[in-house]
C-alpha cells in the first residue's frame, strides 16, 4: 500500500549501493555531472558576453538529480521538464553543440534558434521539452505517460518540476488522474529550496513528497545531492511503476548555487548557506572523493576533466560559428504544412 517515506528509509539501500558499484559506473556519474556543470558555466560565460539572451536558468548544484535518475531509465522512457532544462537534455544524450547553439539562437540549435534556452525537444532522444509555464510540464508529462499506457510500450514518463511548481493546481489534477488510471509516470520534484526568491517554507504547506498520499501515490524524499541515493530511489520507483502500479513521487532535496536565472543576484539567502552547500554537499566532489577512496588515480579523473573541457569548448565555438536562422524561417513551422 501507499507509504510516504522519509530520507532515512534509504540508508539501508545506500549501504550496499557503493559496494555494488563498479568504478566505471562511478566514473560515468562523475563524467555526466561534470559535463552538466561545465556546460552551465560556459553558458553563463556566453551569457555574460551577450551571446545568449533572455532567460537562462542554470542547473549548477542540482546535477546529481537528473544524472542519477537518467542512469536507471530505459530507452523507451520519455522525459519532460521545466525551463531549467539544459542538464536534462545533456542527460538524455542530446548533443551539447545543438543545445549550446540553441542558447545562442542559431540555425544549428535544436529548435533552429526559435526556442531558446527554455524550449528544445528531441523525439529521437524522447525529450519533450523545455516548458516555460510553471506546472505545465507536469500535465504534459502525465499525458506522455497516458500515451505509454495506451500504446502499451513499457515506457515510463519522467516529469520533472520545481518545488514552486508543485503548488500548481494542475499538478494536483494530474496526481489524481495518474493514480486513477494507473499511469506510468514518475513525478520528480526538484526541491532546490526556492521558487525564484521564495523559500519553500513560505510557499508550501506540508511535505511535498506526501502530496500524493490522498490519491494513493507513494512518495519519498531523497538526498538529491547524492547521486547514488538518487539512482537507488529512482530505480525502486521505476520498478514499481513499470510493474503496472501507477505513478510515484520523488522529492529530491537539492540546491541551486546560482540565482534563479542569470539576472538574479540571489539576495534572499546568505552567503554561508550557499557556501556550506558548495563545500560540504557538492555532488561532484562527493563522487570524486568516493573514487579517490577507491584508489582511482587523480590523473584518471583529470583525463575526464580534459575530455569534457574539449567537448564544451567545441560546443561553444560551434554555437558562435553557427549562423543565425535565415529571415524566411520567421514564417515556417507555425503549422504543419497542409497537403
Amino acid at each position: 500500500m501507499v507509504s510516504a517515506k522519509e530520507t532515512s528509509s534509504k540508508e539501508e539501500r545506500n549501504e550496499n549501493s557503493t559496494t555494488n558499484l563498479s568504478i566505471d559506473k562511478l566514473k560515468k556519474f562523475y563524467h555526466d555531472m561534470l559535463l552538466i556543470r561545465r556546460f552551465e558555466e560556459k553558458a553563463a560565460q556566453l551569457y555574460g558576453m551577450g551571446l545568449i539572451g533572455g532567460f537562462c536558468h542554470l542547473y549548477i548544484g542540482q546535477e546529481a538529480v537528473v544524472t542519477g535518475i537518467t542512469s536507471v531509465q530505459k530507452h523507451q522512457d520519455t522525459v519532460v521538464t521545466t525551463y531549467r532544462d539544459h542538464a536534462h537534455m545533456l542527460a538524455c544524450d542530446m548533443d551539447p553543440k545543438g543545445i549550446m547553439a540553441e542558447l545562442t539562437g542559431r540555425i544549428d540549435g535544436y529548435s533552429r534558434g526559435k526556442g531558446g534556452s527554455m524550449h528544445m525537444f528531441s523525439l529521437e532522444k524522447n525529450f519533450f521539452g523545455g516548458h516555460g509555464i510553471v506546472g505545465a510540464g507536469t500535465s504534459i508529462g502525465t499525458g506522455l505517460g497516458f500515451a505509454h499506457k495506451y500504446k502499451n510500450d513499457d515506457g515510463v514518463a519522467i516529469a520533472y518540476m520545481g518545488d514552486g511548481a508543485s503548488n500548481q493546481g494542475q499538478v494536483a489534477e494530474c496526481y489524481n488522474m495518474a493514480a486513477l488510471w494507473d499511469l506510468p509516470v514518475l513525478f520528480v520534484i526538484e526541491n532546490n529550496k526556492y521558487g525564484m526568491g521564495t523559500d519553500v517554507s513560505r510557499s508550501s504547506a506540508g511535505q511535498l513528497y506526501r502530496r500524493g498520499e490522498g490519491y494513493g501515490i507513494p512518495g519519498e524524499q531523497v538526498d538529491g545531492m547524492d547521486v547514488l541515493a538518487v539512482r537507488d530511489a529512482a530505480q525502486q520507483a521505476l520498478n514499481y511503476i513499470r510493474s503496472g502500479n501507477g505513478p510515484y513521487i520523488l522529492e529530491m532535496m537539492t540546491y541551486r548555487y546560482r540565482g534563479h536565472s542569470m539576472s538574479d543576484p540571489a539576495k534572499y539567502r546568505t552567503k554561508e548557506e550557499v557556501s556550506s552547500m558548495k563545500d560540504e554537499r557538492d555532488p561532484i566532489i562527493n563522487v570524486k572523493s568516493i573514487l579517490l577512496e577507491m584508489d582511482v588515480e587523480e590523473n584518471d579523473l583529470k583525463e575526464i576533466d580534459k575530455e569534457i573541457k574539449s567537448i564544451i569548448k567545441e560546443s561553444a565555438t560551434f554555437a558562435q560559428e553557427s549562423p543565425e536562422p535565415p529571415l524566411e524561417d520567421l514564417w515556417t513551422d507555425v503549422l504543419v504544412e497542409s497537403k
Binding site: 556543470r37 558555466e41 553563463a44 551569457y47 555574460g48 558576453m49 551577450g50 551571446l51 539572451g53 533572455g54 540549435g109 535544436y110 529548435s111 533552429r112 534558434g113 526559435k114 526556442g115 524550449h119 525537444f121 528531441s122 523525439l123 519533450f128 521539452g129 523545455g130 509555464i133 505545465a136 500535465s139 504534459i140 502525465t142 499525458g143 506522455l144 505517460g145 497516458f146 500515451a147 495506451y150 500504446k151 514518463a157 494542475q170 489534477e173 494530474c174 489524481n176 488522474m177 486513477l180 542569470m262 539576472s263 543576484p265 539576495k267 558562435q320 535565415p326 529571415l327 524566411e328 520567421l330 514564417w331 515556417t332 513551422d333 507555425v334 503549422l335 504543419v336 504544412e337 497542409s338
Partner: protein
C-alpha cells in the same frame, strides 16, 4: 595562448558596470567555478566565477574601476604550462565576440521588420505554402473542392449525429484517435454528442475525465506529442478558460518552438456561444479569442454537413484545431453526404446563397439567421449573398473579398462582442483590399457589449436576430 577573462553582463540590457573587488590576485591558481571578482551595476552586485582553470597572469582592470564596458578583458589567465612571458605578445583573440554583442544590442533598437521586407528576402524559392502566405496576409484562393458532387447522395442527420459519425469513422480508421472529456463515455456526452462511442470503442478510447480541464487538456497535449491523436471535449467552451494555457502555450506554440520537430495533432471541441437562459458565465462566444492565435486552426460549423466534413478534417489535421460547436444547433437536421470521403478542406467558406446586392458573412448559428434575413430581404427586393465562414482561422479571405467586389456592401454577423471580434477583422480586410469597391461602410451585427443577462427579454436583445441583420443590410443599401 593566455585566456582573456571578460567583463560579463548581468543582464541583456547591461552595457557597463563597476569592477568592485578582486578576490584573487596575480599569481593565484584558480579553478573553474571559483569566485574571482565582484561587479556591480546600479541594480545589483554579482560574483564573477572562473570558467577555466589556470593561474591569473595579469589583472588588466584594477578593483574600483567604474563604468567598465561589457566584454572588456579584465584579466588574463595562464593555462597549464604557460608562463607569464606569453603575456607580452598577446593579440586580442576576442574581436568577434564584442562585435557580436554590439550587433545583438543594436538589433533590439532597430524597428521591427515589416512583412514586406521579410518576404522580399532573396531566398530564391517561391513560397508555395498556403499557411505561410496566409500568415503574410495574402489573399489566396481556397483549396479546390467540388462540394456539390458529394451532395448527389445524402442522408438527413442532426448536427449531433453528424459529429458523432465523424468521430466514429475517424476512430475506426485510426487506432491512435481517442476521445476524452467530462461525461463523454458512460453518460454519452453531456449533450449526447458521443452517443454510442463507448459501446463501440471501449473505455480505453472513450474516457470520462474528472472535472479538471487544466490538467486533462495538458495531458491530452502530452499524449499528442507522444504519438496519439486526442479529441478533447470541453463540456462547454466556457470551462476551457481553465485550459486555455495549454491550448495556446502548449498546443499552438510547440511546433514553432521546436523548429518544426515536434507537433501536436489534437482537436479541442465542444459547444460555444450562448445556449438559452443560462446567463453570463455559460454564454460566451470564444471565436475571436482563438482566431487570434497563430498555430491554431479554428472551425465553427453551421450545418450537419459542415459538422461532419470539418470534424473529419480536424481529426486528420496534424495541427491543433479548436472546434466550436453550438448547443442550439445540435438538434437541427440537414442533408449530409453519405460518402465517407466527404472531408471539407479547412479554410474554405461556403456561399449558402448567392446574391448581388449585399454580402452577409456569418458563422455557426448565425448562418441560419442570416439566411432567414436574406429570404425576408428578397421579398423587399434586396438580393443578399450569404457566406457561411465555417473556418475562422485561416479565414477564407478570398471568398469574402470576391463577394464584396461583386456586391460592394458587406454586413458581418456574429454573436460575440464587437471589440476585436471576427467582424472587426473582416472590416479591416475590406479596408485593406477592397476599399475602392465599397459603396457603404462595412457594418457589424454583434452581440451587445455586456455580459449575458438571464431575463428572456434582455437575452433576446443581446443576441443578433434576423431583424437586426435586416436592419443592418437596409442601412448599407441606403433603403428604409
Amino acid at each position: 595562448m593566455p585566456i582573456e577573462i571578460l567583463m560579463p553582463a548581468l543582464s541583456p540590457t547591461m552595457a557597463e558596470g563597476n569592477l568592485a573587488k578582486w578576490l584573487k590576485s596575480e599569481g593565484d591558481a584558480i579553478e573553474s567555478g571559483d569566485v574571482i571578482a565582484e561587479i556591480e551595476t546600479d541594480k545589483a552586485t554579482m560574483e564573477v566565477e572562473a570558467v577555466d582553470d589556470g593561474v591569473i597572469g595579469k589583472i588588466l582592470v584594477p578593483a574600483g574601476t567604474q563604468n567598465v564596458a561589457v566584454n572588456t578583458p579584465i584579466a588574463l589567465l595562464l593555462e597549464d604550462g604557460e608562463s607569464a612571458d606569453s603575456l607580452s605578445d598577446r593579440k586580442s583573440s576576442n574581436k568577434v565576440q564584442p562585435q557580436a554583442y554590439e550587433e545583438a544590442n543594436k538589433k533590439e533598437d532597430s524597428p521591427a521588420m515589416s512583412s514586406e521586407q521579410i518576404v522580399g528576402q532573396p531566398t530564391g524559392a517561391v513560397i508555395e505554402n498556403r499557411d505561410i502566405l496566409y500568415a503574410q496576409g495574402a489573399v489566396i484562393e481556397p483549396p479546390p473542392f467540388d462540394e456539390a458532387a458529394f451532395f448527389t447522395d445524402t442522408k438527413e442527420l442532426s448536427v449531433r449525429e453528424a459529429l458523432r459519425d465523424a468521430m466514429a469513422e475517424e476512430m475506426r480508421a485510426d487506432e491512435t484517435v481517442y476521445l476524452m472529456g467530462e461525461e463523454v463515455a458512460q453518460y454519452n456526452g453531456a449533450y449526447k454528442v458521443s452517443q454510442g462511442l463507448l459501446d463501440e470503442f471501449g473505455e480505453k478510447r472513450v474516457i470520462d475525465t474528472p472535472i479538471t480541464e487544466h490538467g486533462f487538456a495538458g495531458m491530452a497535449v502530452g499524449s499528442a506529442m507522444n504519438g496519439l491523436r486526442p479529441i478533447v471535449e470541453f463540456m462547454t467552451w466556457n470551462f476551457a478558460m481553465q485550459a486555455i494555457d495549454h491550448i495556446i502555450n502548449s498546443a499552438a506554440k510547440t511546433l514553432y518552438m521546436a523548429g518544426g520537430k515536434l507537433g501536436c495533432p489534437i482537436v479541442f471541441r465542444g459547444p460555444n456561444g450562448a445556449a438559452s437562459r443560462v446567463a453570463a458565465q455559460h454564454s460566451q462566444c470564444f471565436a475571436s479569442w482563438y482566431a487570434h492565435v497563430p498555430g491554431l486552426k479554428v472551425i465553427a460549423p453551421w450545418s450537419a454537413a459542415d459538422a461532419k466534413g470539418l470534424m473529419k478534417a480536424a481529426i486528420r489535421d496534424p495541427n491543433p484545431v479548436v472546434f466550436l460547436e453550438n448547443e442550439m444547433l445540435y438538434g437541427q437536421s440537414f442533408d449530409v453526404p453519405t460518402d465517407e470521403n466527404y472531408v471539407i478542406p479547412i479554410g474554405r467558406a461556403k456561399i449558402e446563397r448567392t446574391g448581388s446586392d449585399v454580402t452577409i458573412t456569418a458563422f455557426s448559428i448565425n448562418v441560419g439567421k442570416a439566411l432567414k434575413a436574406a429570404e425576408e430581404l428578397a421579398k423587399q427586393g434586396i438580393d443578399a449573398e450569404v457566406i457561411n465562414l465555417r473556418t475562422l482561422r485561416p479565414l477564407d479571405r478570398w471568398t469574402i473579398l470576391e463577394s464584396v467586389k461583386k456586391t460592394n456592401r458587406i454586413v458581418s454577423v456574429e454573436e460575440g462582442w464587437p471589440a476585436a471580434g471576427i467582424g472587426a477583422e473582416i472590416a479591416a480586410l475590406c479596408c485593406e483590399h477592397v476599399f475602392d469597391y465599397l459603396d457603404a461602410p462595412v457594418t457589424r451585427v454583434c452581440g451587445k457589449d455586456v455580459p449575458m443577462p438571464y431575463a428572456a427579454n434582455l437575452e433576446a436583445l443581446v443576441l443578433p436576430q434576423s431583424d437586426d441583420i435586416i436592419a443592418a443590410v437596409k442601412k448599407v443599401c441606403y433603403v428604409d
